[in-house]
């Protein structure tokens, strides 16, 4: 009896191991993301299979003919946008989605040169969306990962993003960045009377929503690490001040009680403080305000312009922009304002430093000989690399995994002001895979959220 019980326990443990093993099995395919990827990994994203009853139910709720196909298209687009994967044309697939999900015929997928295969199944369960998906290594003929989750049907786009994150993590060994949102400034109208609104969208441009009406000028929104809050600059009543906005409730409040312009806000990594510039009598210095106890602390005290502060992910350091040397350069200091050190020494001007979520790099804007560059350097200023050059571009923001930068770019206008546009772009840390991020209106000042599912 005693022995049997012990045996049962062992068996139970063994079962758990069996379930976990396929997920934790050693990597068969590995995608190297540290180099510019000129030959993206060919893979097949099979449409998620769906039974007829579930299909009809989802069609009624979501007005989508086949939600299984729709979700697979999200995964496919995400993987393609990353530049690391080359999703193959679905027309060439030989196996039906439902069969492929049960047991892929690897020869068939090998034939079309797919190295990895994603399959899955969608079902309608208790008014919810249940999705399971599998990642297969085609060459080795093995399952690499299998996961299932259930959510409300309206979350179907997020399901596509979460699947992509899991696949990306499994194949690259790095955290994904697809189940994220971008907050930005939507722009309309002539340059001299530009109307600006806060807007938010999924990382892939869907679910776009305006958060302000455009009655007052708004600039530089930034996400909190907790994702519910955004800090930004508003010219409400012609008093440019840093505000805090709760995206879910729409509640807004001014940050602190400053007798002058506050601007260039960002959250501390723990989300508890706002760091920003306060301009008084022609001098801008860096301040923090604790959001819990409202205590304001002055961090820099220098007659030059000190702005664009950004914390290191451990909160111990701050990088910022200052013209104390005569021109705009990048500096670092400890979070108490001590140990100020200039780190940018290249020709021209440097601005908008922003610390990587990995902690090892600082992204920046550089202006040299009439051209604007987005670049990165190590936190001591060494190893500067310029990723992209253009007529005008600035304000990089990191993807939460620190692999991609999003920024905005403006085009030149003629003497009548024609030809002007402002658009969001993204680029890989490697300098490859530069892409236009589509927005309905003109757009600027993007800020990337952290992973929503975390």
């Amino acid at each position: 009896m005693q022995e049997k019980c012990w045996k049962d326990k062992m068996l139970f443990r063994y079962l758990i191991l069996l379930i976990l093993l396929p997920i934790k099995s050693f990597a068969l395919i590995e995608v190297d993301i540290t180099r510019g990827n000129l030959s993206p990994l060919p893979l097949a994203v099979s449409p998620l299979s769906i039974d007829e009853k579930s299909r009809k139910n989802f069609k009624e709720i979501l007005k989508k003919e086949n939600i299984g196909s729709e979700i697979s298209i999200i995964v496919e687009n995400n993987l393609k946008q990353s530049g690391l994967f080359n999703p193959l044309n679905k027309d060439s697939f030989l196996q039906k989605p439902d069969i492929a999900n049960l047991k892929p015929r690897f020869e068939d997928w090998n034939l079309i040169k797919a190295q990895a295969l994603i399959t899955g199944k969608v079902t309608f369960v208790d008014n919810k969306l249940r999705v399971e998906f599998r990642l297969w290594d085609v060459l080795a003929g093995k399952e690499m990962m299998a996961l299932a989750f259930t959510t409300v049907p309206t979350n179907w786009r997020r399901v596509g993003h979460i699947i992509t994150d899991k696949v990306y993590e499994r194949l690259t060994g790095e955290e994904g960045y697809f189940d994220t949102r971008i907050i930005y400034v939507a722009e309309e109208g002539p340059k001299t009377k530009r109307i600006k609104k806060l807007a938010i969208m999924d990382q892939d441009g869907f679910n776009n929503k305006f958060l302000t009406l455009g009655n007052e000028l708004v600039l530089t929104p930034r996400f909190s690490p907790t994702n519910q809050m955004v800090t930004y600059l508003s010219y409400f009543r012609n008093l440019p001040r840093v505000y805090l906005l709760d995206i879910e409730t729409g509640m807004q409040e001014v940050v602190g009680d400053f007798a002058g312009m506050t601007f260039a806000p960002r959250f501390s990594p723990d989300g508890k403080k706002i760091i920003m510039s306060f301009a008084k009598d022609g001098n801008s210095d860096i301040y923090t305000m604790d959001l819990e106890n409202r205590v304001v602390e002055r961090i820099t005290n220098h007659p030059s312009i000190d702005t664009s502060p950004s914390y290191s992910p451990d909160g111990k350091y701050i990088c910022f922009n200052s013209d104390r040397s005569g021109y705009q350069q990048i500096y670092t200091m400890t979070s108490d304002g001590k140990n100020v050190k200039r780190i940018s020494f290249g020709k021209g001007l440097y601005g908008t430093p922003v610390w990587s979520p990995r902690g090892d790099l600082i992204a920046f804007t550089r202006l040299h000989k009439g051209k604007f560059y987005i670049g990165v350097m190590r936190t001591d200023g060494t190893g500067e690399r310029l990723l992209t050059e253009n007529f005008y571009q600035e304000a990089p923001s990191w993807s939460p995994n620190g692999r991609v930068l999003i920024f905005y770019r403006e085009t030149k206008s003629n003497s009548k002001g024609e030809g002007f546009s402002a658009k969001l772009w993204s680029i890989d840390l490697t300098g490859y895979n530069e892409r236009l991020v589509e927005t309905k209106t003109d757009a600027s000042d993007p800020s990337w959220s952290s992973l929503l599912s975390n």
Partner: protein, 160 residues
């Protein structure tokens, strides 16, 4: 082969001279309105009162007042002393060739240069408020040096 080279060179020379004449005419047009790279034309200037221009212009990345700017501000100070009930807002601006956040600070500094000068000519700080727009409100929407020079400015606006 030789002919081809001659033709090629000839073409280059023609092209070069075209570019040079284009430069020369452009320079002439802007020379009258630019001193260094500070705008000294009249195109965008409005008047607070007869003979009292509303704005001063700055060089790239500069917040120092030029001789012409100081002259304009002295006229404003005289007018403000005569009209002691009028308060003003000094709106500071930058051109589009700088990062947004730095330009907000730069606009604020430019408006404060003007404010300090008005104060040395006897205008009370209570009557002057300062508002920076950075690069958000250009008067000239072109992307060229002349347009940028018009946009680097501090404008004195009646507040009441």
């Amino acid at each position: 082969m030789k002919l081809k080279n001659i033709l090629k060179n000839g073409f280059l020379i023609v092209l070069a001279s075209l570019v040079l004449t284009a430069c020369a005419t452009q320079q002439k047009a802007s020379k009258s309105q630019l001193q260094g790279d500070v705008y000294n034309g009249q195109e965008t200037v409005e008047y607070l009162a007869s003979g009292v221009p509303d704005r001063v212009f700055f060089a790239t990345n500069e917040t120092v007042l030029t001789t012409a700017s100081r002259d304009t501000l002295r006229k404003q100070a005289t007018w403000l002393r005569k009209n002691s009930k009028i308060n003003v807002v000094l709106e500071g601006h930058a051109d589009e060739r700088g990062t947004r956040e730095y330009n907000l600070a730069l606009g604020e500094r430019r408006a404060n240069s003007a404010k300090d000068y008005l104060m040395t000519y006897g205008i009370s700080a209570d009557r002057i408020s300062v508002l920076s727009y950075g690069k958000e409100r250009p008067v000239d929407s072109g992307s060229n040096p002349l347009a940028w020079s018009k946009n680097r400015r501090s404008v004195t606006v009646k507040a009441n």
